[in-house]
């Protein structure tokens, strides 16, 4: 499974390792230090890839704002190093520093915009049943349906 990274901060996961799992509770977010991950959501027995995230991207932040379970599964694509951000540290910075909160909001807004683009594209291409899909806050550079 996972191990600590050598000279890269965070924890190392190997190809296929699940970092967070849809439906499980969570109280931290993650920032990718090295490698890539895929964000997957299971609906109606099918698994959809909502996004592929690169170094510097973060995920799992929804659990910090809402007392909800994880809304997606995140899985390592190859070797990846991921830094865990504690809820306490995150909320402390959010409250002390409005510019920090602004930056997080800006990145989340960017994701929403990307998601809208993909949904529009999929609806236009008639490859996706838009009415049955409730969009999440994830960006979606690679929205491919997986079975």
């Amino acid at each position: 499974m996972s191990s600590v990274c050598s000279e890269v901060l965070g924890r190392r996961y190997h190809d296929g390792d699940v970092i967070i799992r849809q439906g499980e509770p969570g109280d931290c977010m993650f920032v990718i230090q090295e490698g890539r991950v895929e964000v997957l959501q299971r609906r109606g027995g099918k698994e959809y890839c909502l996004a592929v995230l690169d170094p510097g991207d973060f995920f799992g932040e929804m659990a910090l704002f809402e007392q909800e379970v994880r809304c997606a599964t995140v899985r390592a694509l190859g070797d990846v190093c991921v830094l865990t951000i504690d809820k306490r540290i995150f909320m402390q910075r959010m409250h002390e520093d409005a510019s920090f909160a602004f930056k997080i909001l800006k990145r989340m807004a960017h994701r929403l915009r990307e998601m809208e683009k993909v949904l529009t594209h999929l609806a236009d291409a008639d490859r996706f049943e838009l009415a049955s899909f409730e969009p999440t806050s994830w960006g979606a550079d690679a929205a491919n349906k997986r079975t």
Partner: protein, 448 residues
């Protein structure tokens, strides 16, 4: 909302800002100022004066510091998109060893994750092997980020400061003079440039300081991996005048930091030759005749009036955390100053209302830090309490143990990962002291 400053003391398009010092505080300030300026659509011209080349190894490129980026700062930077790449991180730290004359104990973090970065401030200690010079120091990395944002690097020292029509004008060593709308001293308290601000018609007085001792030992990467691992080694020894000592593993080197009163050669020798330290150092290793070392000053107080109209001091020359997490304090003060300058203006009143509270928070927390270190010193000075401490930590580190009160208190004290107020607050529970006293009794009763 109306800004605090009058229109003539607000930054506008083409305002010029001079940052004196390209260490973390100066680079953070320039980076965040330019980022916020872009967000509100203002074009600023920012010069950073830094004569040193941070890619050089040895004293020429070094900013004299233990080189630890705290857990809280690593997380805050990562969350806002500033990564510390593998070329900057010499070693990720996931645990610490506490060494005392009564025994050693390894304290692991609950997540078993490397969230503390050990770094070089410059290009590495004197004698850094060629393989390591491909790596980058923290200061160079942050300076590059600021330059990437649009700051202009001026490779010169500022020698003099005067006021022209109510604006600060700098005179650099290379002969150039420049008038600025805002001047931001970010020089650190070891810089000779500090004296030019004391004599520049400002009410500024530098922080009180004491001397510390830092040295770098080249053990080699394999030996460090084998003997020190990815752990910070903290020593609580009953040596007079020594408050705290830590051995911090990096690439080919380990950095030794000693904090205390009037640290001199005799104290360093007493520490290095103590039986506890000898057990940690590699077998058969002798202190070399020649190694990179320095005795920089560190803050034990804060500056008086670190701002005026068109001037704001950031980082160590304003205030910093007591003994720990100086880079984290540089980040907080630099960002607060940048935010004030962009949104509230550059008047003394704006800095008093919107920047000074951050300095005050750090100062107040340092007072609590003095209490924390005072209690640590008491524990350090009494053998029975050291035995009790060791027992309590052993119990907490046992597999399956859910209570980690003392482990987290010491972790946050030694790594600077949490405010001292938070550390102290966690020790005020009667159950904490009840457990500690019980362990003191059991440890010493068992011994007898």
């Amino acid at each position: 909302m109306v800004p605090t400053s009058p229109p003539e003391l607000m930054l506008a398009d083409s305002s010029r800002i001079g940052v004196i010092g390209g260490g973390p505080a100066g680079s953070f300030f320039a980076y965040f100022l330019l980022e916020m300026a872009e967000a509100v659509g203002v074009f600023l011209e920012v010069d950073i004066y830094e004569p040193r080349d941070f890619s050089l190894s040895g004293p020429g490129g070094c900013n004299m510091c233990g080189g630890v980026v705290s857990e809280s700062l690593v997380q805050a930077l990562a969350a806002e998109g500033i990564q510390l790449p593998a070329s900057v991180v010499q070693r990720g730290i996931d645990s610490y060893f506490l060494h005392m004359d009564v025994g050693d104990v390894r304290i692991e973090t609950p997540l078993h994750e490397k969230r503390i970065a050990t770094v070089y401030r410059g290009g590495g200690p004197r004698g850094t092997p060629m393989s390591d010079t491909q790596r980058q120091g923290l200061d160079g990395h942050l300076l590059n980020l600021a330059v990437g944002r649009g700051a202009r690097l001026v490779r010169s020292r500022v020698d003099a400061l005067e006021w022209v029509d109510g604006r600060p004008r700098t005179k650099a060593q290379n002969g150039t003079q420049q008038t600025y709308d805002l001047l931001v001293p970010a020089v650190g308290i070891n810089s000779a440039a500090l004296k030019i601000f004391s004599s520049a018609c400002l009410q500024y007085h530098p922080p009180k300081a004491t001397k510390t001792y830092i040295c770098e030992f080249c053990f080699g990467r394999d030996v460090i991996k084998r003997d020190l691992g990815d752990s910070m080694h903290v020593f609580l020894l009953n040596i007079p005048r020594l408050e705290f000592a830590a051995l911090i593993p990096k690439g080919e080197f380990a950095t030794l930091c000693l904090l205390g009163e009037d640290i001199d050669k005799a104290l360093v020798q007493a520490f290095l030759h103590s039986a506890v330290v000898q057990q940690v150092l590699p077998p058969d290793w002798q202190v070399p005749d020649n190694f990179c070392h320095c005795s920089p000053k560190i803050n034990i107080g804060s500056a008086v009036q670190p701002f005026a109209d068109r001037v704001v001091f950031v980082g160590d020359c304003a205030t910093t955390r007591l003994y720990k997490d100086g880079i984290g304090a540089a980040y907080r003060t630099a960002k607060a100053a940048a935010k004030t300058a962009i949104f509230e203006g550059i008047s003394a009143e704006a800095f008093r209302l919107h920047y000074e509270p951050i300095c005050h928070t750090i100062r107040r927390d340092n007072l609590l830090g003095k209490v924390v270190f005072g209690v640590t010193k008491l524990v350090q000075g009494w053998e029975r309490s050291r035995r009790g401490l060791l027992r309590m930590l052993f119990e907490e580190q046992r597999e399956g143990s859910k209570r980690r009160d003392m482990s987290t208190v010491l972790w946050d004290t030694f790594t600077g990962s949490a405010p001292y107020g938070s550390v102290l607050g966690r020790t005020l529970w009667p159950s904490f002291w009840g457990r500690f006293l019980w362990d003191i009794a059991r440890a010493n009763g068992h011994r007898s």
